[in-house]
Amino acid sequence: MTTAGDDDQAYLRIENLSKVYATRDGEVRALNDISFVQGRGEFISHVGPSGCGKSTLLMIAAGLLPPSSGAVQVRGRTVDRPRTDIGIVFQSPVLLEWRSALGNIMLQAEARNMNRKEAAARGRELLSTVGLAGFEDRFPHELSGGMRQRVSICRALIHHPDHLLMDEPFGALDALTRDQLVLDLQALVTERRMTVLFITHSIAEAVFLSDRVVVMTPRPGCIDRIIDIKLPRPRTLAMRETPEFAEYSRQILDLFLARGVLREH
């Protein structure tokens, strides 16, 4: 296959990946010939218009959906079943209605036979990090959409996964909480040297967090361009006002304008 030296660098390798959904009125091509390599510890964001196949890509990378053609490899091994070495945040919170906020997080611990006491303590800590201290025993129907999504973020983190897959995790949040969580995520990822595949609609969020931003075309989703973000780390909120940051945002915006995803009248 690939050389050993290459494998050390490549954590996730996606090769000529395409996905075609069979629907009642014909086939829907969601992804078309996607290839990229994610190194260990690298933070990659995907931005692209709605319906371009970002969620599909994430599900395939998680081994939850089979690709129609092409392959996904993790550390040189082809993914052909659901991966359990990941923490995943779906686009919707996917909480169990009959479990409390903490109970939902503990599901992950139960699945992995973690020490219950330690896991519960860590679960509480995570909840308080995302601003949900005091909501441990609330049930999902008592939480707002943004709160539920934050619980699902905690659930994806409690087992210290190597690879974090997040599908618009901050989509349902207000700007202030969003900024806070972006900062918290950065701190956590740096501390734990996590590898992150991140999907967002926010160009600023992508530039702020990422080592590389993958810009996708409208459906069928192809990779339009991969942009290296060479801003120093740790990144601060003030950096968002710098010309370098603005330049990166502008680049992505220009790609969307060129594809007709965005129009200036």
Binding site: P82, F90, E97, W98, Q108, A133, G134, L183, D184, T190
Partner: protein, 294 residues
């Protein structure tokens, strides 16, 4: 890292400090409202019932309706009092049939629903038969059961079962099938096997629907048992109704109907109670509306 942490705690700190008092007040008001709601759920129907009974009582005197047609509520009460020993004895017998029929419905219905859900060919073979079997009038089958199983307990239990198991099957199968695909994905990415997924996610997910089925089932079982007693009874409330009817003792007939109604309601509420004990509050809140509109 530390900077982010500090701002985080400051952020959450202000939120908690500002929200504490207000929240407690809202909680208190919510509890009060819930209590008023509970009392109301009792007072309104009770008041309605009393008013209706008073009207009925007055009407029987005003229009001097003969007692063999419609006895006054007071006459029914008197009949219940004088026949209390018989009513209780027959109620016990009928309750026994109902509970056996219901238990059989659960014991057969839930595994059947599981098989229907888990095994596609089985579902395709059994489901249409099951649904069309519901078009068969059970009352018409009752005499057949008499021929096959005699006059004992068995035919009554079987008729109760025949009527009551259907909602258990349908609701259980529906509850199992209603699981969102994402929850299965979630279980897979956590490393749950099929058995753990079933017990940790699928079954709890189906619980509210299963209980809805059980509630319908128990009321159907009451009907089934009475039908069985009508056709080939030597005892039970259904049999008592027949006898009272034959003797033109309409007051006793009504007394029997009252006993049956009370029996049905009590059994229904018992299932509700079990539901409350088994399910977390969210699900009960969702279905409590159903029990109030009963």
């Amino acid at each position: 890292m530390t900077e982010a942490d500090k701002s985080s705690s400051a952020f959450t700190g202000t939120q908690a400090a500002g929200g504490g008092n207000l929240e407690a007040g809202i909680q208190r008001r919510r509890r009060q409202r819930a209590q008023r709601e509970r009392i109301g759920a009792f007072v309104y129907p009770a008041g309605m019932l009393v008013a209706l009974l008073a009207l009925w009582e007055a009407a029987t005197y005003l229009f001097s309706i003969p007692a063999y047609l419609v006895p006054a509520p007071s006459a029914i009460l008197r009949s219940m009092d004088t026949n209390s020993a018989v009513l209780i004895k027959e109620s016990v017998g009928t309750t026994f049939e109902i509970l056996l029929g219901f238990a059989l419905s659960v014991a057969v219905g839930i595994p059947l629903a599981l098989a229907i859900y888990l095994w596609r060919p089985f579902a395709r073979a059994v489901y249409p038969v099951l649904v069309s079997s519901q078009a068969v009038p059970k009352v018409a089958v009752a005499p057949l059961f008499l021929v096959w199983f005699g006059f004992g307990l068995l035919p009554k239990v079987l008729i109760a079962f025949l009527i009551a198991f259907f909602p258990v099957v349908i609701n259980t199968a529906m509850g199992l099938a209603s699981l969102e695909r994402e929850k299965i994905y979630l279980a897979q990415s956590m490393g749950f096997g099929p058995v753990a997924t079933f017990f940790k996610i699928q079954l709890p997910n189906a619980m509210p629907s299963i209980f809805a089925g059980l509630k319908i089932s128990i009321t159907f079982a009451v009907v089934g048992a009475v039908v069985g007693e009508f056709v080939g009874g030597q005892g039970g409330l259904g049999y008592l109704l027949l006898i009272a009817n034959g003797n033109m003792d309409t007051a006793l007939l009504f007394a029997g109907i009252v006993a049956l109604t009370v029996l049905g309601v009590v059994l229904f509420l018992l299932i509700g109670l079990v539901e409350r004990l088994v399910l977390p509050p969210h699900a009960v809140e969702r279905t409590s509306f159903g029990s109030e509109t009963m």
